[in-house]
C-alpha cells in the first residue's frame, strides 16, 4: 500500500515540473512586449523601460524561469501587472465562489447521475432505460452555456422563479441555475457510467453467489453490487471536479459570477500575464492534485489495489 502511494507521488513530480514549464513558456512567447502592451501605444519609452525593470523582463529568459519556479515553490506567484495585488491573493478572493459552484454542481451531478444510472440498469431495456440514456446523451452533447441560457429564459424570464443572474444577495438561490448548468454534463456521464458499470457487475458470478445465499434483491444490489460498480464513477467525479474548476469559466461568464474563471478572462483582456500565468498554473495544479487524490483513494474502494497481488498457496 505504501509502495503504491509512494510510486504515485513520485510519478507526479515530473508532471508538475512539466506543467510549470509549459505555463511559463506559454506566457513568454506572446508576441510583443508585455510592458508596452500594458502601457499602451502612447506610453513613453522611459515608463516602458521602468516597467520592464520592475517586472524583471530584462533578465534572460532562463533566469526568469528560475525565478518563476522558485516563486511557485514558495507559493509566490508574483503580482498582478495591473493592480500589483499578489496573484495568490487575487485567486484566493475569487476561489470561494468557484469552489461552492463546483461542489454544488458535483453533488447534484453525482446524486442524479448515480440514481438515474442505477434505475436504468435495474430496469434494463425498459422505456425508462432508453429514455434515461437518450437524455444522458443529450446532456453530453448540448453545450452547457446554451443550456444555461435556455434555463435563464425559462426560469428567470418566463416563470420568474429565480430572480436573476449574478450573486444577488448571496442566498443559495443564485447558485441553482449555475449548478444545474455546470452539473448537467457530469451528471450525464455519471449516469451512463453507472448504468454500464452496474450491468457489468450484475452479470458477475459473485452476484449469483450472493443471490444463492438467500439475500433480498435490495441487499444484493446495495451490499454486493454497488461498491464494485462505483469504482469507475470515482474517476469521473475526480476529473469532473477538476474540469469544473477550469470549465466554470463559461458558466461564470454566463451568470456573472465573480469567480476564478472570470478572473482569467479579465486578465486575458487586460493582458495581465502575471495573473494569467498564475491562474493557469493554479488550475493545472489543482487538476493534478485532484487526480492524485482520486488515484490514492482507489485502495479504499478496491482491496485488490490495497493489498497488491500477494498470493498464498495452500
Amino acid at each position: 500500500m505504501t509502495n503504491y502511494v509512494f510510486r504515485r507521488l513520485l510519478a507526479v513530480i515530473p508532471v508538475i515540473v512539466g506543467v510549470i514549464a509549459v505555463v511559463f513558456i506559454l506566457t513568454s512567447i506572446v508576441p510583443g512586449d508585455p510592458a508596452r502592451l500594458m502601457v499602451g501605444q502612447r506610453g513613453d519609452p522611459a515608463t516602458i523601460q521602468k516597467l520592464r525593470e520592475d517586472l524583471g523582463l530584462n533578465r534572460p529568459l532562463w533566469q526568469q524561469f528560475i525565478d518563476f519556479f522558485k516563486g511557485v515553490v514558495t507559493l509566490d506567484l508574483g503580482r498582478s501587472y495591473r493592480t500589483r495585488m499578489p496573484v495568490i491573493q487575487a485567486i484566493a478572493e475569487r476561489l470561494p465562489i468557484t469552489a461552492r459552484l463546483a461542489l454544488a454542481s458535483m453533488a447534484l451531478a453525482v446524486t442524479s447521475g448515480v440514481t438515474l444510472g442505477m434505475v436504468a440498469a435495474l430496469k434494463q431495456n425498459s422505456m425508462l432505460d432508453y429514455g434515461s440514456m437518450i437524455a444522458a446523451l443529450i446532456g453530453i452533447s448540448a453545450p452547457s452555456f446554451w443550456v444555461g441560457i435556455m434555463l435563464v429564459v425559462l426560469f428567470c424570464v418566463q416563470l420568474r422563479w429565480i430572480p436573476g443572474t449574478g450573486t444577488g444577495d448571496g442566498s443559495w438561490i443564485y447558485l441553482v441555475l449555475p449548478a444545474l448548468t455546470l452539473g448537467m454534463r457530469p451528471a450525464a456521464l455519471i449516469a451512463r457510467l453507472t448504468r454500464s458499470g452496474m450491468l457489468e457487475v450484475l452479470g458477475q458470478d459473485y452476484i449469483r453467489t450472493a443471490r444463492s445465499k438467500g439475500l433480498t434483491e435490495k441487499a444484493v444490489i446495495i451490499g454486493h453490487a454497488l461498491k464494485n460498480a462505483m469504482i469507475p464513477v470515482i474517476t469521473v467525479v475526480g476529473t469532473g471536479m477538476a474540469e469544473m474548476l477550469g470549465g466554470a469559466i463559461v458558466v461564470e461568464k454566463l451568470f456573472s459570477l465573480p469567480g476564478v474563471g472570470r478572473l482569467g478572462i479579465e486578465a486575458i483582456l487586460n493582458r495581465d500575464f502575471a495573473i494569467i500565468r498564475g491562474q493557469v498554473l493554479f488550475m493545472a495544479l489543482i487538476f493534478v492534485v485532484t487526480n492524485l487524490l482520486v488515484d490514492l483513494s482507489y485502495p479504499l474502494f478496491d482491496p485488490r489495489i490495497k493489498y497488491g497481488r500477494t498470493w498464498r498457496r495452500e
Binding site: R208, T209, K213, G214, N228, D302, R304, E314
Partner: protein, 321 residues
Amino acid sequence: MGEIVLSVKGLKTYFYTKSGVVPAVDGLDLELERGETLGIVGESGCGKSTAALSIMGLIPSTEGRVEQGEILFKGRNLVTLPRVEMRKIRGREISMVFQEPMTSLNPVLTIGRQVAEVFVVHRGLNQREALKETIKMLSLVGLPMPELRLREYSHQLSGGMRQRVMIAMALACKPDVLIADEPTSALDVTVQAQILQLINELKERLGTAIILITHDLGVVAEAAEKVLVMYAGKAVEYSDVNGIFDNPEHPYTKGLLASIPGHKKHGQRLDVMEGSTPNPGDHSGGCRFYPRCRYARGICRTSEPELFDLGGGHLCACHFV
C-alpha cells in the same frame, strides 16, 4: 430406501433468446434421499447446471423460466413458491457451491463479511456472533488460522481455499441439500481430491444430502452413491454407483464409460462416440440419442423412451433393455 428429501418431476426449464427458445431442461425427473450423494453426469450443455439453478430458483427471469414440472421439497413445490418464501429456503435449507471459486466471491468484501452474512440473514445473529460462528465454520472446512481470514479478501486466497470458503458459506446453516456444480473442475488435481474429501466429511458430519454435478466420471466414482446420467435435458439412466459402472444399460452411458482412456492397452485405438452434443431442442419426437446410437432401430426415431425400472432401483430410458 431412505427418506426422500428432494424430488423433481417433469422439470422443463426454457430460455428465451433472440434466436429462439432453448429447452435446456426438457422433462427431468430425479429423487434425492436424505444424506446421500447423488452424482449428476453429462456433457456440457445437457442441462445439469440449469437443473441445479432451477431447483435453487436462480434462473434470471429476463432469460428464462421453469415452464413445467414440480420440485418437491419438504412438502412444498418450489416452482410455485412465492419469492419471499424461496429466499428463506435458499442458503438455509438448500445451498449451492459453484464452479469458479475465482469469480464467485465478491472481490471488494472481506471473507468474514461474506460468510457472516449468511448467519445474519438466516439466523438473525448480530455481527459479532455471526463472526464467531464464521470462525467455527472456517475451521470446519479446514482453513488454517480462520481468525486471520476474516479480514482478508478473496484475491489473497488460492483457488482451493476460496472453494473452502464457498463451502463454508453454503453449509453455514446446515442445509438439508447442498448442490455442488462442478466444484472441482477449476482446481488443480491434488486440490480436487482434498475438496471432494472435505465435502464427504462434512456430509457425514451434518447429514446433508448432496447433488454433485460433474462431467468427470472419476469424480462420480469417487464421491457419489447414486448416479443420474443426463442427456439433452433429460435423465437417461439412474442407479447406484456400482450399477452404473459395472452394468451400464443405456447406450450413452456405455459410450461414456468406454471413452475413458484407462481401459485400453498401449497402441489400441480409443473408443469414441460418434457425433457431437446435440443442441437443446434438436430432436423430433424420438429418442434424443438416436443420431449417435449404435443400436438404433426404427422405433427409436419416432418414440421417446420413458425411464423403465430394470429392478433394484436401476432406471434406464431406452427401448432395448
